[in-house]
């Protein structure tokens, strides 16, 4: 068996193992078979280990044979030859994707093992692992994607699983609302990504990263497009990355995302999906070299995000939210590094930060428990540290800054007021006009609605519900 064949096999295993896990966890319940907790966790562990072995094998072989770019061609998923339309399933193992993939396997495996105990006998155990499998596949596909369409495929899976896992505790409205809000931001990011991918496709004739970023292995590729289109596409991708990584002005979803169970918070918003935006910027980094304004935009975005995250995390009173904003600070710094062209540094920063933050987030619940145990033991509150932030005694400007940070920069409020409110208001107005018109045409005969459960006496509840719904949309 030659090296190339082993590389292809190991690469194939890396991609197929998460896909198989999702297929099994998704399809078996559909036909009415319920899988137990042990089997679910076992299958997950087997899948993660298999994928990890596959990716490590690829890494070892790449190091031994001194190959810097190993494409795994799975052929065309869809091809329309006469029109030159190809949805090419291509995965690339290079200096960017291999470390990220191995990190994904390690963290997914760690969190999977943690969850096995953490959610033991929880009613949503199977559901968690199903959504986790969606996320896991999405991350691997995004990381290894050799074409922008394939990256989009994984990107969407990550978004969906994130929203569903934030709403994991679905018997309460708050997680559900937060899941929806995160989904809204993700959809906006996805739209920007899709438009960028299409423009890219039209400019270069293919979605292949090689065709786009030059044939050189990452990070030495040279983008094949001119400065102006690179700026437009780059800005769209920056919006997509900002949405996915929770950068300014989309940072509002980050604390909301912490409504999900701790394992998902740790692996998604502390480690993996929060870095997916920066990963995208790293992947398309040759675009930055073509356009100086784009480079400046990336650096500016990073600086603002880092400062915002640093200040906001200092005033948060909830441990997960504080850690979330602390992650954001690092994401901002990583973005600055990417903008400055320090790509290896950014990659190392991502890996180091992701591992550390996962550990912190997984430790957070037990840390709080230990903290309370200590308080119980000594019969009072523990002494506060000197680094604790207080409002008393600070200047007026300091108080204002504190307030702004405490309200997370009023970014959510600004987005609601400037974007969401006008859109929702416009369509609600259109609905009222439409209702009047239909009533007029029908001679003011309303539908009988014989099956409706909305009771007239529940008008106040209805009104409250409508405002809640509108609030969700905003």
């Amino acid at each position: 068996m030659n090296t190339d064949l082993i590389l292809q096999f190991a690469g194939g295993v890396t991609v197929v193992s998460p896909a198989l896990l999702l297929l099994v966890l998704g399809m078996i319940p559909l036909v009415g078979i319920r899988i137990g907790e042990r089997l679910t966790a076992f299958m997950t562990q087997v899948s993660v280990l298999t994928g990890l072995v596959g990716s490590v094998t690829v890494l070892i072989l790449m190091l031994v044979t001194d190959q810097r770019n190993v494409p795994i061609e799975l052929g065309d998923w869809v091809a329309i030859e006469p029109d030159g339309f190809h949805f090419h399933l291509k995965f690339v193992f290079d200096r960017l994707s291999v470390p990220f993939t191995i990190m994904t396997f390690v963290l997914c495996g760690t969190v999977g093992a943690f969850t096995r105990v953490y959610l033991h006998r929880d009613a949503g155990y199977q559901r968690f692992f199903l959504f986790y499998a969606v996320f896991y596949l999405g991350m691997i596909v995004s990381t290894l994607a050799g074409t922008i369409e394939t990256l989009f495929f994984g990107w969407e899976l990550v978004g969906l699983s994130s929203a569903l896992l934030i709403a994991f505790f679905q018997d309460r409205p708050s997680p559900v609302r937060n899941g929806l809000r995160v989904w809204i931001v993700y959809r906006i990011a996805d739209a920007a990504f899709l438009i960028a991918a299409l423009l890219l496709h039209h400019l270069t004739g293919a979605g292949d990263f090689e065709g786009l970023m030059g044939s050189g292995p990452w990070p030495e590729g040279v983008a094949n497009i001119a400065g102006s289109p690179a700026l437009i596409i780059g800005l769209l991708l920056l919006v997509a990355a900002a949405g996915k990584s929770g950068m300014v002005p989309f940072s509002g979803w980050l604390p909301r995302a912490m409504e999900g169970p701790t394992p998902s918070s740790a692996v998604f918003y502390g480690a993996l999906s929060i870095h997916l935006g920066t990963y995208l910027l790293l992947r398309v980094s040759p675009l930055l070299d073509v356009s100086l304004p784009l480079q400046i935009a990336v650096i500016a975005m990073g600086v603002v995000t880092a400062i915002f995250g640093a200040m906001t995390s200092r005033v948060q009173t909830d441990v997960k939210t504080a850690l979330g904003f602390a992650s954001l600070t690092q994401v901002g710094i990583i973005t600055v590094e990417i903008g400055l062209g320090l790509r290896y540094l950014a990659l190392i920063h991502i890996i180091g930060h992701a591992l550390l933050r996962t550990l912190q987030l997984l430790r957070a619940p037990s840390l709080l428990k230990d903290y309370f145990s200590l308080e119980d033991a000594i019969g009072g509150g523990l002494p506060t540290s000197k680094s604790s932030v207080g409002v008393q005694g600070t200047s007026s400007a300091g108080r204002w800054l504190y307030r702004i940070c405490n309200e997370r920069g009023y970014l959510d409020a600004a987005l609601y007021r400037l974007i969401a409110n006008p859109i929702v208001g416009l369509f609600q107005f259109a609905g009222r006009v439409e209702d009047r018109w239909t009533q007029f045409l029908s001679g003011n005969k309303s539908p009988r609605l014989s099956q409706t459960q909305v009771e007239p006496s529940a008008a106040s509840e209805l009104s409250r519900g409508t405002s809640e719904m509108v609030e969700d949309l905003r």
Partner: protein
């Protein structure tokens, strides 16, 4: 014209037609429902049979063996071609799943006989090649929902009637005014052709529910049973009418105006669905948005765009059919779905929750579902011709995605409920769930055969219109010129056979055209 092995088309229409009479006999409604399921299954078998039979022939169109109608009327009235071949099984499947998922408690409200009659009419409509008959069938197809609202539910039919009468008048008047040589030069239409074309376009738009002529749809969903409303709107007969009647004679500006109006409708309906607080109306807007996207693709007249639209037609039918049936199953448990508060049904109906999510995501073209590649192709085609349209399509899909997830959370999450009766899915509902899930996921994971088939159909349609294939590819300018060339070259096409008779030359079309013959006969009379 090649012949199928059996008279599949006539059988698929006759079986539900006879069935509609048969199911009236049993007093036991449950027994009638079982008969109805058998009849729908037979109709589905016939349509699948004709699709397989047609596929093995590797031709663009075919008609029945022992075609009784052809021998009576001396014209091929019922024809299967690449456009309608997969649509016929889709329609049959939707009817079967609708009947299967109808619970016993709803049998008194849902007319089995009327449903089967409507199935026969729809299958005839989608098999029909003669324009006059098509118009007649489209008008007949508007009657069953009206009948149900008027006599079975005692609801006001004014909104529906106004729109459908206007639709009928536009279609009849438009076709009647259409001069025999209208298709000769659509870019230089005479005033009568212009008026006739405008009337036919307006009629088709009315039937498709294009903004601002869509109010009848929301009204229908409010007043008719959900099953009837679904079956009336889901097959997108309006889009079919556009393909058969408007496209051959429409000048560029008309096609462009349809595309722009469709796009406005798609975005508007997506936005309305986002803020809608009634479950049925939400579904109606979602359907309206997606069916408008299909129409956008059909009017792009490029190979990629048309392929995307034809794929989307199937995926939307399947996905939104599944979503509609899920809503219907939920309605059977909790009544009309009010989206102003959480219902928290997931714990009790996890399968329906899964199907809702799956079908909803399929409808917006989420990766891994049947709609993904279709949406990609549609956007790709749209960007190639009009970049703004491509971006607007993405915006509409984005808003629809948000709306679907919002409704999912509203219906299935947000609180915990206890019920005195079990809400779990019945075996028949589970069957529908599994079938739809397999089709949506299967079509998503293995899309190539479907895409190839739709692309072949699109290519044949364009070839017939004289589009230079090399010009209809990615390049935007080229595509645009191709689109205009389509218009200028389509003059050689025959009115009735534009999208069907691709194997025959223009000359033979003129000679064999039953529509023209009918029109000439009418004129001589």
């Amino acid at each position: 014209m090649p012949e199928l092995m059996l008279p599949w088309l006539e059988l698929s229409i006759l079986i539900p037609l006879i069935g509609s009479l048969l199911v009236r006999f049993p007093r036991d409604r449950d027994l009638a429902r079982k008969w109805c399921i058998v009849i729908c299954s037979l109709a589905l078998t016939c349509t699948v049979g004709e699709w397989i039979d047609f596929a093995r022939m590797a031709t663009f169109e075919a008609h029945d063996h022992w075609d009784a109608l052809a021998s009576i009327f001396h014209a091929n009235l019922l024809v299967i071609d690449e456009l309608n071949a997969p649509l016929l099984p889709l329609i049959s499947l939707l009817f079967l799943l609708t009947v299967i998922s109808t619970l016993r408690t709803k049998l008194n409200r849902f007319s089995l006989s009327g449903t089967l009659f409507y199935q026969a009419v729809l299958l005839a409509t989608f098999s029909c090649r003669a324009s006059w008959l098509l118009i007649a069938l489209l008008i007949i197809g508007a009657i069953p929902p009206w009948f149900e609202m008027k006599y079975r539910r005692d609801e006001s039919t004014r909104v529906y009637s106004i729109h459908m009468i206007a639709f009928a008048i536009c279609m009849v008047l438009g076709y009647w005014l259409l001069p025999a040589g209208a298709e000769a030069d659509p870019e230089q239409p005479r005033s009568t052709t212009l008026i006739a074309g405008a009337l036919l376009t307006l009629g088709a738009l009315l039937r498709n529910g294009i903004f601002p002529l869509h109010c009848w749809m929301t009204d229908l969903f409010q007043r008719a049973t959900l099953g009837t409303a679904l079956l009336h709107v889901l097959p997108m007969t309006g889009a079919y009418a556009v393909m058969r009647l408007v496209l051959p004679i429409a000048p560029s500006w008309a096609l462009q105006s349809i595309a722009v109006l469709s796009l406005i409708t798609a975005v508007y309906a997506a936005g309305r669905g986002l803020v809608e607080t009634d479950g049925r109306k939400f579904f109606c807007y979602l359907l309206l948005s997606n069916s408008s996207l299909v129409l956008v693709g059909l009017e792009l007249v490029t190979s990629i765009g048309l392929t995307g639209a034809l794929c989307l037609w199937l995926s939307v039918g399947l996905s939104l059919g599944g979503l509609g049936l899920t809503l219907r199953c939920i309605e059977a448990r909790i009544g009309r779905i009010n989206l102003t508060h959480f219902h928290g049904l997931h714990e009790h109906t996890p399968k329906l929750a899964g199907l809702f999510l799956l079908t909803g995501l399929g409808a917006i073209g989420f990766p891994g579902t049947i709609g993904f590649i279709g949406t990609e192709l549609l956007v790709e085609g749209a960007v190639g011709v009009y970049p703004v349209i491509g971006i607007a399509v993405v915006i509409a899909a984005t808003i629809n995605g948000i709306a679907i997830m919002q409704v999912y959370f509203r219906v299935f999450a947000g609180r915990s409920i206890t019920t005195s009766i079990p809400f779990t899915a019945k075996p028949s509902e589970r069957f529908a769930v599994v079938v739809l899930a397999l089709l949506i996921i299967g079509g998503g994971l293995y899309p190539q055969p479907g895409i190839s088939s739709r692309h072949h159909a699109a290519e044949a349609l364009l070839e017939h219109r004289g589009v230079n294939k090399t010009e209809s590819h990615h390049d935007g300018k080229h595509s645009q010129s191709a689109a205009s060339e389509v218009q200028s070259d389509s003059g050689s096409m025959n009115n009735a056979e534009t999208t069907t008779d691709l194997n025959e030359t223009n000359q033979s079309q003129s000679a064999d055209d039953p529509t023209r013959a009918d029109r000439q006969l009418n004129e001589s009379e």
